[in-house]
Amino acid sequence: MSGSRLLNLPRPARVRMGPGGVPRTVDGRQIEQVRESWLIEDRWWTGRPLRRRYWEIMSAQGRNLVVFHDLCSGEWFSQAG
C-alpha cells in the first residue's frame, strides 16, 4: 500500500483575466460575481517562495469556485477553499 497522499491539490485551470487580474471566465464558464479575494505569501525566506492570489467567485450558473493565480509561475489553478 502506498503512503499518505495530500488532499485537495490544486488543478490547472484555464482563466481569462479582466482589468486588475480579476477572473472573467474559468474553464469557459462566465464569472458573474467576485465574492472575495486574498493573498497568500509563504516560504518567502526560502529559494522557492509561495505567492498566490486567491479568488472566490461565482459562475453565471450559480456555482461557487475558488481559483488562484500563482504569482511565481503565472499559472492559474482551481482548488476547493
Binding site: 500500500m1 499518505s4 497522499r5 495530500l6 485537495n8 491539490l9 522557492r48 511565481c72
Partner: protein, 428 residues
Amino acid sequence: MVVCVHLPRFELTVAAGGAEALAGHALAIAPAPGGEARVGEVSGAAEAQGVTRGMALGEALARCPRLRLVAGDPLGVAQEWGRAARALEGIGAALELPRAGLAYFESDGLLGLHGGEEGVVAAARQALRRPVRVGAGPTRFCALAAALEVRSRRARIVAPSFAQGGAFAARGSVPHGSARDAHSTQPDHRAARRYLASRPVTLLGFRAETAALVEPLARLGIDTLGELAALGRDAVADRFGAPGVLARRLARGEDDPLRTHIAEERLRESLELEEANSGPALERVLGVLVDRLLARPERRGRTLRALTLSARLVEGGTWRERVVLREALSDPRRMRLALAPRLALLPAPAAYLRLEAERFGPPEGAQGALFDPDPTSPARREEHRGRLREAVAQVRAAAGPEAALRAVCVDPDSRVPERRVVFTPFPG
C-alpha cells in the same frame, strides 16, 4: 523505477498447452459457453490475418478461415499465473497484477539485493524460467511500453531524470509549495514523456480504462502518444471524458503509484465429479468442499473472507468465479448459502470442482450479546469499531488496498489548503 514483466499471449499459451502449440498456427480462444460470440486472445499467425482480441467470431472466421478455436482455461491460467507471481515474489518484489501475464513492481528496494537494475531484471527472468519481456521506466505505463518494445532475451530500461531544486516546480504544471516540489527526489516526467512521444496510441489498449480510446483516436488521425500529449487537457476531457484525461496523463509520462497486492497463503479443496455434476447433487459436493476447507488445520481458526470457486467442464474448458463474502465467515451453513447460487452460473456440467480460500478474516469466536447492551457502553463502542474494521476489510478485499482511506487533519489552520488534510491508510 517501475519494472514491467510481460508474458505475451499468456492465456492462449496456457489454453493451448504450451508456447510450441502457437508457433505458426492461427489460434484464438473460443467464446465462453453462453457468453458473447467474440474471440479471446489470438496467436501471432491469426493476428497476421487481421484477427484481433474481442473480434466477433463470424468476422474472425471470415478473415481467417483456418482459424482454430481453443477452449478458454481460466482455472489453468489462474494456477499458472499464481505460480509465476509467487516466483517473482520470491525475489522480494511487491507485485501489482492487473491481469494474467502482466506484472509490475518497484525495483528501488531491490537494487542492493540484486546489484542494480540489471541485476533485478536478471533475477526476475531467472525466477520465471521462461521467455518473458521485461522493461523498466519511471512510470508503470512507460515500463509497459519498454517491455513491449524488446525481444525476449533483452530488457529495455528507460532511465528517469531527477529535478534539481526549484527548476522542476518552475517547469511543471504543479504550483510552488505543493506536494511534488517538497520532495526533490521524485522523478520528473520528462524522460518518460520523451520516450513515449514516438510510441503508438495502441499502447493504451493494454490498460482497461483507456482501451476504448484506441479506435477513436486512430480515426481522428492521432497515431502517437506524443500527439495525444500535445492536445489541451480541456479539449481531451470534452471529447473523451475521464478516460481521455487519464490517457493524456499517461502519454505525458504521469501515472498513479503502484497498487501492490498482498501475498497470502491459499488453501484449496477439490473433488472429481462422477454423476454429481449439476443441480442439487453439485450443491452437496460444494457442501463437502466447504466442510473440508474449514477442517484444514492451516486455517488456524481464521474466518474466510474471499473464496474462488472453479470447475473443469465436462465438454472441455474451465470456469472460475471469485466470491467476496459479505462478512468473514467460518459457519459452513452460511458459506453454503453464499456460494450455492454461484453454481447456477456454470456454463456446462462440471467434471471437477474446486474451492479455494483466497483471503482470511480474523479468528472466529466473536459472539453476539444475548441482551442488547447499553449503546454508550464500552462493549457497544468496541462492537461498532469491530464492524467498521470488518467493513473496511471487505471493501479492500473487493476493490483493492487503497479502497478505504482515512482523511487526517495535519494542519487544519494552514492558509495553504492542500497542507490541511492528508489521506492515510485506514487501520484495518
